[in-house]
């Protein structure tokens, strides 16, 4: 990626001339704002940034950014973006996708992008509902959810997007919340800096079809006790009094209070994004499945592995070095030939 220190952008430089048409109050506005605020700091010239999306309210994102972009077809954004990145490793390629788009119809492309470690930055706008099609349950909707297509409650179990990404081998996994702009900016910046598939799940409120899905994680009264902010190298402490922490009891995580005398800060698990062994990251992705535990946000995993796009380019460079640049003559004569006089 080329870095460019000369041009100084502002958030405004990344806003296109198109009117933004999400419902007033939609969480997508915040995501757009945080991306526009962060992009001036990622060190990439504007013309080298491409945003690819699928279909959904969230996928309209592409039209609102003054970068190169393609609003593709439902679920296929990672595949379109993957082809682009492999062709053009010099570009910074981003995917904007909804939970239905990325995890239902596009699930296959998503897991294989993670597995291949294609250097894409994937932002999941997780509102746990199908917004654009007016409110059916999605693959992240909780079981029993009542929607237009599940009047008696959905019978499906939801995906946990982070553990799915982890299981598929993603090298960068993070989570943030639409109502926490500073944190989201930090996650976007870190995703941009990572080389390899970066996956950021953003909890996004759809105030029309699934309002309040994340209220407990963002409202003043509850958020400190409900959210665990992960920080690399720091103990996992949370709570309004900052006195709750996570310990590992055998293979089970446990919430303890460090003010009550039984545990001290030294007993609390220290977060490491870069652990080669994904065990702890996996455990953290599952933490919020238990209502008594907090929901972690932050970077869960951040490890380096060669990327698919650079390996393909490396092979080309290497074989070209060994065999020389191919010519028409070589192409036509690469097998037995004979001459008719």
């Amino acid at each position: 990626m080329t870095t460019n220190t000369e041009i100084k952008y502002t958030a405004k430089d990344f806003a296109s001339d198109q009117d933004v048409r999400w419902c007033p109050g939609c969480g997508d506005y915040s995501i757009l704002a945080q991306v526009q605020r962060t992009f001036p700091d990622i060190g990439v010239p504007k013309e080298k940034i491409v945003i690819i999306s699928g279909i959904g309210c969230s996928s309209r994102f592409t039209y609102y950014m003054d970068t190169f972009g393609m609003h593709g077809i439902h679920g296929r954004a990672p595949a379109i973006a993957g082809g682009l990145k492999i062709a053009r490793p010099d570009l910074s390629v981003w995917v904007a996708a909804g939970d239905g788009d990325l995890l239902s119809i596009g699930g296959n492309h998503f897991i294989h992008t993670c597995r291949k470690n294609i250097d894409l930055k994937i932002l999941l706008f997780n509102n746990r509902i199908y917004g654009l099609t007016k409110g059916q349950y999605s693959p992240t909707s909780e079981k029993g959810k009542i929607t237009k297509s599940s009047p008696y409650g959905s019978v499906d179990y939801p995906f946990n997007p982070l553990s799915l990404a982890l299981g598929a081998g993603a090298t960068f996994i993070a989570r943030s919340i639409d109502r926490n702009p500073k944190h989201m900016q930090e996650m976007i910046k870190k995703a941009a800096d990572h080389k390899g598939t970066s996956f950021v799940e953003i909890f996004q409120n759809c105030n029309i079809f699934n309002d309040g899905a994340y209220d407990h994680l963002s409202s003043k009264d509850t958020k400190d006790d409900a959210v665990l902010v992960l920080e690399h190298g720091k103990p996992m402490i949370f709570g309004s009094q900052r006195n709750k922490g996570i310990i590992l009891n055998g293979t089970k995580p446990q919430v303890v209070n460090i003010d009550e005398g039984n545990y001290s800060i030294n007993d609390i698990l220290v977060h490491s994004e870069t652990d080669d062994n994904p065990f702890l990251s996996y455990l953290l992705t599952y933490l919020s499945e238990n209502p008594d535990y907090p929901t972690p946000i932050g970077v869960f995993r951040n490890v380096l592995r060669p990327t698919c796009d650079e390996e393909i380019q490396n092979q080309i460079n290497y074989i070209t070095e060994v065999n020389g640049k191919g010519t028409l003559k070589e192409l036509f004569h690469n097998t037995t030939t004979w001459t008719v006089e």
């Binding site: 080298k48 972009g69 004979w338 008719v340």
Partner: protein, 611 residues
């Protein structure tokens, strides 16, 4: 003993055996040697869908047919003159294609009770006079192979595996071919395993000298070299030619090639070939499915690559939605469909032409796409190049139809003079002044602007575009106009493609109109009918959407039009709609190519035997 040498104009041989018997290799070695010898030839492999079906069964039979000639050759032959059958199943499956008097060479050792039963015979066909009308040679190929390798260190299994080279050696003797090309091949192939190199060499020689020294064979045959145009030749299969054509388009345009593909028979060979061309800058991506195959190619096209996706049958069905995206985003993209028997998984290893209507119409919305089709293995090269020419010049996806028959079939190919291949001029717009994503040039093509071009940041996508600006638009009049514009852009290509040529008289009783891989069989049939004085001509289409401009007028000049197709009449339907003329379809959907005789008989019956 002096043996008689008879001169023949042409010969058709079919090698048949168990899928583990190495018949494809035997056949291709014979073809390579024969090509080097200077004959014109065409090959037709016919292999089962199962990789290793149970030994001895009918459905495990693998065959390889070739026809070589001292004349121009258009088909791999209707009826083999020689059948080499390595076991009873191979005999049973192929005997029906032989005419009385044909030569049959069998591996007698394989005709044991078990194999005879597996093939569905009640009694040994070598002993019940059922083969009386043929020249039957019963040769204990397995034991002769074992004898030749009596003092070798190979295992019994390895020895048994050499027997195809005995048959090959014998055929080389019978048709007066040199052993050197295959000996050279053996030494290269088994360089690291000298024991195998030595064994195969011995067995090949043993087969050859068996013909020479035993009294079983009295006659050898020779087919003189064909009078081919001067130049350097190589053998080429349709799939190889497609790969070569794509890489050539890349070299001639200076734009690198990207292939996004998911393996499927009979198209995988293109993926295999292209993944070896790394030093030509070709990027191949084995995607997670066909949808990712085409959408990754769309992404690469957006990034300024010559983008290609290759597939067949059900894979083509999966690409449908993304084809629409390519139409809407007006990005260049080549889709190669190597057609096979359908519907669904259908007949994976068999040939068919039943995806024509799908190529024309198989999308939601008004989604016009140019369609072209290759007619012979060698022609696949030109059509691949043509597909990229059209797609980059008109900023459009192009569907190139091939089929299993020409994909696997091979023929000698006159290597083109490099300077005779035109440059492919591809423009990427970089000027900011006056740019709009959906402005159009004289060909109605929009500009190709790749990410990385400063100041030209823009968005494209699958939602309807406002004319010129490319902004999302739901305006009714705009939509109507854009549908017409896209259709007109494709239709206009008719001004930029060669007029189609009539083989034979420009006016007459019967026109045989074909497309794709049926070319050779039609050509042979028409030549025969013309020789007999029938008023018959041939037109073979390479551009199908749009049609060549002169097609309509040509059609008016004939009393009857026959359209032979390996489907239930798909081109016929389109012709009737387009030209409002009655055409007679001549259909075959058996997973097999037409034979020239079938088409000749149709012509002959239509002309009422009238000369």
């Amino acid at each position: 003993m002096k043996k008689e040498i008879k001169k023949l104009d042409e010969v058709t041989i079919r090698f048949a055996g168990d899928s583990g018997d190495g018949m494809q290799l035997t056949g291709s070695q014979f073809s390579d040697t024969t090509a080097l010898f200077g004959n014109d030839l065409i090959t037709l492999p016919d292999y089962p869908a199962e990789i290793r079906a149970p030994a001895g069964t009918l459905y495990g039979v693998s065959g390889f047919q070739l026809r070589f000639s001292s004349q121009d050759t258009n088909t791999p032959g209707d009826h083999p003159d020689v059948l080499v059958a390595m076991n009873p199943a191979a005999l049973k499956k192929n005997q029906k294609d032989l005419l009385p008097g044909a030569t049959i060479i069998v591996n007698q050792d394989a005709f044991d009770l078990r194999n005879i039963r597996s093939a569905g015979y009640n009694v040994n066909p070598l002993e019940d006079n059922s083969l009386d009308g043929f020249k039957l040679f019963k040769i204990p190929i397995s034991s002769l192979t074992a004898n030749a390798l009596a003092d070798s260190s190979l295992t019994v299994k390895e020895v048994a595996r050499c027997k195809n080279f005995f048959a090959l050696g014998l055929m080389y003797w019978m048709f007066n071919r040199p052993l050197e090309p295959t000996l050279k091949w053996i030494n290269k192939k088994f360089k690291k395993v000298p024991a195998l190199a030595e064994a195969n060499t011995k067995v090949l020689n043993a087969g050859y000298y068996y013909g020479e020294n035993t009294e079983i064979f009295e006659t050898r045959y020779t087919v003189s070299p064909a009078n081919l145009p001067k130049g350097t030749y190589r053998n080429i299969s349709g799939n190889e030619a497609l790969a070569l054509g794509c890489v050539t388009a890349s070299l001639k345009s200076g734009v690198p090639l990207f292939l996004g593909s998911y393996p499927i028979t009979p198209a995988s060979e293109i993926l295999h070939q292209l993944s070896t061309y790394k030093n030509f800058g070709v990027k191949t991506f084995q995607a997670e499915d066909e949808i990712a195959g085409i959408t990754s190619a769309i992404g690469a096209s957006f990034g300024g690559y010559l983008a290609l996706t290759t597939t067949s049958g059900p894979g083509m069905a999966l690409k449908t939605e993304a084809l629409g995206l390519a139409v809407m985003t007006e990005l260049p993209l080549v889709i190669i469909n190597v057609q096979r028997g359908g519907p669904s998984t259908g007949l994976p290893t068999k040939t068919e032409q039943s995806d024509l209507l799908q190529a024309f119409y198989g999308r939601n919305g008004e989604a016009p796409i140019p369609v072209i089709a290759a007619s012979t293995p060698g022609n696949c090269f030109e059509m691949a190049f043509e597909a990229f020419r059209i797609s980059t010049k008109y900023m459009t996806p192009v569907i190139l139809l091939s089929d299993g028959y020409i994909a696997n079939g091979a023929e000698p190919w006159l290597i083109p003079d490099e300077s005779s291949i035109p440059e492919l001029s591809v423009k990427f717009r970089t000027e900011k002044e006056g740019f709009a994503p959906y402005m159009r040039d004289e060909n109605l093509a929009r500009p190709w602007v790749v990410p990385g071009t400063p100041g030209l940041e823009h968005r494209i996508g699958g939602l309807e575009k406002a004319n010129i600006t490319g902004n999302v638009s739901h305006d009714p009049d705009n939509h109507h106009m854009m549908c017409e514009l896209r259709a007109k852009k494709v239709k206009n290509i008719e001004n930029d493609i060669p007029e189609t040529e009539v083989f034979g008289e420009e006016k007459g009783d019967i026109l045989v109109l074909g497309w794709g891989g049926t070319y050779g069989a039609i050509r042979d049939a028409v030549i025969r009918a013309q020789k007999e004085g029938l008023s018959v001509s041939q037109v073979h289409l390479h551009h199908i959407n749009p049609f060549p401009k002169n097609l309509g007028n040509i059609l008016k000049n004939f009393k009857k039009i026959i359209v032979p197709e390996l489907n239930l009449g798909q081109l016929s339907k389109i012709l009737r709609i387009e030209f409002l003329i009655p055409v007679e379809s001549f259909c075959k959907v058996k997973g097999l190519p037409f034979t020239a005789v079938e088409i000749y008989s149709k012509i002959s019956s239509m002309s009422g035997g009238k000369k």
